[in-house]
Symmetry: none
Subunit: 228 residues, 4 copies
């Protein structure tokens, strides 16, 4: 019995959850690559083991499928972050581990990064309709809060840094390294996706954030020089 035959049988063998997963996986790739309006239902269906009709059967339509993709993508990030156990580590070690984890996650999930870009292009219109976003995300900030508090107590972090600001800083640096790969390559001829470049950049990001949150950092008064 051939492989394709087996696959066909597998689909026929009435595993609704497998069908859902199959569709979702293909759709994630397509939406990440081409955006909501750029992706084609026909192309998604063609890459699936099922037919186009099933997409409508299981998800209802293109937009709903897109939302399901979004929800699933976010669910994965956050669940990993919480279960990382960073809060239990020593402050510096915990923060650094969290940074490294964030960097790696973005690096190994470019589709997630592109989906988030897409949502921002669309003003978050679709993410807004995905339930439970807020709750899922706030746990990450809680972890950072714990680490910051312990760090300040132990004298290794300076005070005055908001957990959310720290999260945004980490995200910004990790996100950009994946999100803007193509334009950076075209504008400067520098390939941020190369192994060496990625390793290098990770150390830089750790250094940047550690320098900022470090207790011994002299934060000089900004000069407020405006030239425009």
């Amino acid at each position: 019995m051939s492989a394709s035959k087996l696959q066909q049988d597998a689909t026929r063998t009435n595993d609704p959850e497998a069908v859902r997963r199959d569709i979702l996986e293909v759709a994630t790739r397509e939406f990440a690559f081409k955006g909501l309006s750029g992706a084609r239902i026909d192309e998604i269906a063609a890459q699936t083991n099922t037919s186009k009709r099933m997409i409508y059967y299981y998800f209802g339509g293109k937009e709903q499928l897109y939302r399901a993709v979004l929800a699933q993508a976010y669910q994965q990030v956050r669940s990993l972050e919480v279960s990382g156990g960073f809060a239990q580590l020593a402050p510096r070690a915990g923060l650094e581990a969290l940074i490294r984890h964030s960097f790696d996650y973005h690096d190994s999930h470019p589709e997630f990064v592109r989906l988030v870009m897409n949502e921002n292009i669309h003003h978050g219109a679709h993410l807004a309709q995905v339930k439970g976003m807020r709750a899922r995300n706030e746990s990450v900030v809680a972890v950072l809060e714990t680490l910051l508090e312990k760090g300040v107590e132990q004298g290794v972090f300076r005070s005055g840094i908001e957990p959310l600001d720290l999260h945004v800083t980490i995200s910004a640096l990790c996100f950009y390294n994946v999100s803007n790969r193509y334009t950076v390559k075209l504008n400067f001829g520098f390939d941020m996706s190369e192994k060496h470049a990625r390793e290098n950049r990770l150390e830089q990001i750790v250094a940047i954030i550690m320098a900022w949150v470090g207790a011994n950092t002299h934060v000089l008064h900004p000069l407020h020089v405006h030239t425009l």
Copy 2:
């Protein structure tokens, strides 16, 4: 008053350059909002003073219009950066001014930010066809190089920081603050576009970078804790 002067004042301006600008302006907005495939030529035309037909007369097609929009957007950023005269300032003052300028530019040109996001979603396929990108961009890195060199010489910056890495760091922090506004809002309920939040974040970004490049920063050895 000359005849041509009179006609310029007339209602039917017959100014090809103005028509081009009109189309380009509307198209920039539409493409930034909806992406290449999401934007509609009909809708763009409807918002112009001309007809759909003229878009084809002036630009040739949807993709070419998109490319013209991209090229113009990049041209504006870089020309401002170079003419900023940052290289002539004292190292710390120059760098800080450049950061503030970058932040302000991203903040006041969200369409540019979205266009860049879009290009990255499409793997830079269209930007690749816009000529002269590389040359335009390298001047920014040159400015940073000058400032870094002078700073190290004067003992206010530490050595070992690559100009391009510094540029990427500045960009990442400034870019993200605009690009990811919507998802941050939805995920954390925090509005990064509010006046107070923006002012606050700018000072943070300056502090982050200054702490990193500062000569007196203790860069501790990374701990290399991997949790994944």
Copy 3:
């Protein structure tokens, strides 16, 4: 039950092959009448029992539909010629039968003639992309070759005539009688499509070719008088 009701039912009868045939038939007429660029997909669709959308579903596009029409038109001619059984007849009878068949086919298939004209106007660009043309056509020449060989052997045909030249001669005379009907009518007021004219012309064509291939024909040395 009304006529339109009947038609609607016919379309619903879910017979893909019938839909294909329907489209192909209408398209043949339209392309023959107006050429590739002159024909309109909308008009073709309007004359079918299906919609414009289905033309794309079944054929992919205008050019592909045109090619399908071409391929089908050629398929019909050749299949008839081969199955004519001319090669089995006595040389003179076989040749004459083939001429009469060729004349009748052109006469009763003016769309085929016009499609061929069209292809020649376009330098055969589309026919070149239809597969299996060469193989289909060479069988006709083989039939003529058999007849000529037998005829020379039996002393009823003169030697030295190439099968392909004979085919071209037959084709030229039969083709022109249909292809150039309109210009001949306008230039000389003579209607070649009238029953009497057609019957008359067929006998002439038979006579012309028989006179040429006949064993007893005195072929005089050409005079080579050039007047230009």
Copy 4:
């Protein structure tokens, strides 16, 4: 002074007849190549020394330009045929000379051939509106009539052949050799436009017609074998 400059001046130097000729020449090429609906006014204008506006100024529109092209093409053929002086020659010599002339004319004017094909595709709709077609053409038939009459009188041609039938036969054989070049090439791999093939075919055509009209030709009774 550059070549293009000279040309531009030539156009500017107010020679309306030269402008007309220029447009007509380009249009003949384009219409012959692509047919009426396939040809583009923009492309014709681009190949001209003048602008698109001038085509409308001189000819009124696309269809009228097409008609002007048609009229001019026919004018050239016929004027050459009449002035050939074939009627003054001995019957056989005159007929042969006329055949050779006709072959050469078709051979060296493929655009004319294609224009005629085009007209036939369009049912002669446009040629019908060109005045004086009938008168121009009947002179050719008159020449053939004279030759046939003299030939029968002198015993070198058999009687019973209509001048117009003879004309149609000559035309058919000469026309097809140019008109159907592309399909013959694709269907049989035989290139009728090669020098050797053309020379060969001309002698064949002369032989075919001479055999038919010759006084000594035995025209056998047709067998009337129908196989369809």
